[in-house]
Symmetry: C2
Subunit: 329 residues, 2 copies
């Protein structure tokens, strides 16, 4: 059996089953959420890691090395945001590069990492440099969790309950639209391309949601339907989404009018947040948070099959060929 047969998420399940943590008492959230959480000395820490491989996650032709660095840092910040994590942030950066790489390339990559780090208050404290046949950037990021009555405030994947509403930040599909535009050929920078190359993780909103008592969330990194599917698997529940409510930018509608909804639902790399909680809390937050748009797109239901169903205005289900990105498929 090959990894391409079982896919990324079955692999993670199988690997997680092989870990028997000695000090499990200190681990609050282990393998299977956006980030890990543990307790040490009365405080709670959140850690995540994310890797980008040349030829798989980026190609030097369509993004600059600085953009690659920015996104490698941003994707980790988004995982922390998806847990409701809080600064300070400390990062370890691993660069794997061919020996024939220009020093300027390594420096440009690092400048992108450092630029994103600076903007979000991340201290780059160390890392590793190794030789490899292609460029690979791995960031490990550590943050802390805010406490409430001695307990950490977290957004977890396994806390959705029937009756909860599902909301998303910002607009979806812009990153996938930007990627398509880049693939269509040389393009002047536009808002969609910029969203693809320089995503802005929602760290403030994630922390704010956790502070307000929202218990469940995930970031949109692989594709909205697939990412909500992780919540449904782990809670376990089902989800019903209204296609008409999925927030689309004017730029995406203009550029890809026919495919905008599909890009928004399956495209990934938006690094927006999905927030799941009681309607009054979500609606209050949506009203009070002026820095960012929060849109209710559906609700959590009981469903033994843990389905995520996207409905049109007539209540008919809309299906796409893939729900999102799988590393091995």
């Amino acid at each position: 059996v090959k990894l391409s047969d079982i896919g990324e998420f079955a692999l993670i399940e199988r690997l997680a089953a092989r870990v028997h943590n000695v000090e499990a008492g200190e681990v609050i959230v282990g393998i299977g959420d956006d980030a890990a959480v543990w307790k040490a000395g009365g405080a709670y820490y959140i850690a995540t890691t994310d890797t980008m491989v040349e030829g798989v996650h980026f190609s030097p032709g369509s993004s600059s090395w600085g953009d690659v660095g920015w996104k490698a840092m941003a994707s980790n910040l988004s995982d922390i945001a998806a847990m409701g994590g809080w600064p300070p942030y400390f990062a370890l950066v691993t660069l794997a590069l061919p020996a024939k790489t220009d020093v300027e390339t390594a420096e440009a990559l690092y400048d992108g990492l450092a630029e994103c780090a600076r903007e979000y208050g991340v201290a780059i404290v160390g890392g590793d440099t190794v030789r490899a046949p292609q460029a690979i950037v791995t960031v490990a990021l550590i943050a802390s969790a805010k406490l409430h009555a001695g307990k950490p405030r977290l957004l977890r994947r396994d806390k959705a309950q029937p009756g909860d509403v599902i909301a998303v930040t910002g607009t979806l599909g812009d990153s996938a639209g930007g990627l398509r535009r880049l693939q269509e050929g040389p393009a002047a920078s536009d808002p969609l391309i910029r969203r693809h190359l320089r995503p802005q993780p929602r760290t403030n909103t994630g922390a704010e949601a956790a502070q307000r008592g929202i218990l469940c969330g995930i970031d949109v990194s692989d594709g909205l339907l697939q990412d909500i599917g992780h919540i449904c698997e782990r809670s376990p529940v089902g989800a019903v989404l209204q296609a008409a409510d999925v927030p689309l930018s004017a730029e995406l509608r203009a550029a890809y009018p026919k495919d905008a909804l599909q890009l928004a639902c399956t495209g990934g790399e938006d690094y927006e947040l999905v927030l799941v909680g009681r309607a009054p809390i979500i609606e209050k937050m949506a009203k009070e948070l002026t820095s960012e748009r929060i849109t209710v797109i559906g609700k959590i239901v009981s469903d033994p099959e843990h389905r995520v169903r996207l409905l049109n205005d007539n209540g008919e289900e809309i299906r796409f060929e893939r729900a999102g990105w799988d590393a091995f498929r």
Copy 2:
């Protein structure tokens, strides 16, 4: 200019210069030591990351996937040991694998990681799985530092002083001997091969040294002379080593009588510790620590050129072509 022209360590210097940490006040040890140290909420944390790339750091022909996993975890533990770090340990594991990889291969790799983690009390709390053209294992490991009068007890690279003695744990060169044996063709497992494939990082000894007030150390990962060179560069000082005092195992002397010293001085991957400190403290520790051999091999001297000189019994310098491993050369 290519990375192969300037080498790994000049690259690290150049990248470190591009990081301007916002919250530098909380960073106690940044880029350039075995691991990073920061302060958060009154406690001190130590973090490191290390990557192994198929075809660069290992080849599936000569080591099993379980061995690869073990060593990926062990090399990180050794970095923590080299800082004097203390449990609990939390690890993030990133596996990059081709999609055509057998699931059993991924599981065997993970079993090796988990076996080493269990033996050293490491909790694997999360990670990432991605597709790549070859196998790459990255571990990020977080530990804590013991406090003394509110300050962290650490082994740093920049704390050597003229007059300090230089000691090493265990015996050196066995791992390089084991690698040579594997390269010579099919071999039954022997102590040298076992030391190469299943290194035992000196976490207890590193923590004990820090507790006893030793301030300076590094692990032997790239080659003894080169690793001591990092201490000399950063302190800055020079070092004089007595070749006759470098501890060699009986197995290494028997297997490679002519090359044993060179393997011990330049071979790397022994994951023993170099400890540098005042003679009475080092000698007392060597006497009292029964679990492991500690051997004084030289002393720190003033030297504006930061040289590491290895002397024979006649006081003549012994030179080797390379001092150790450089990722890009």
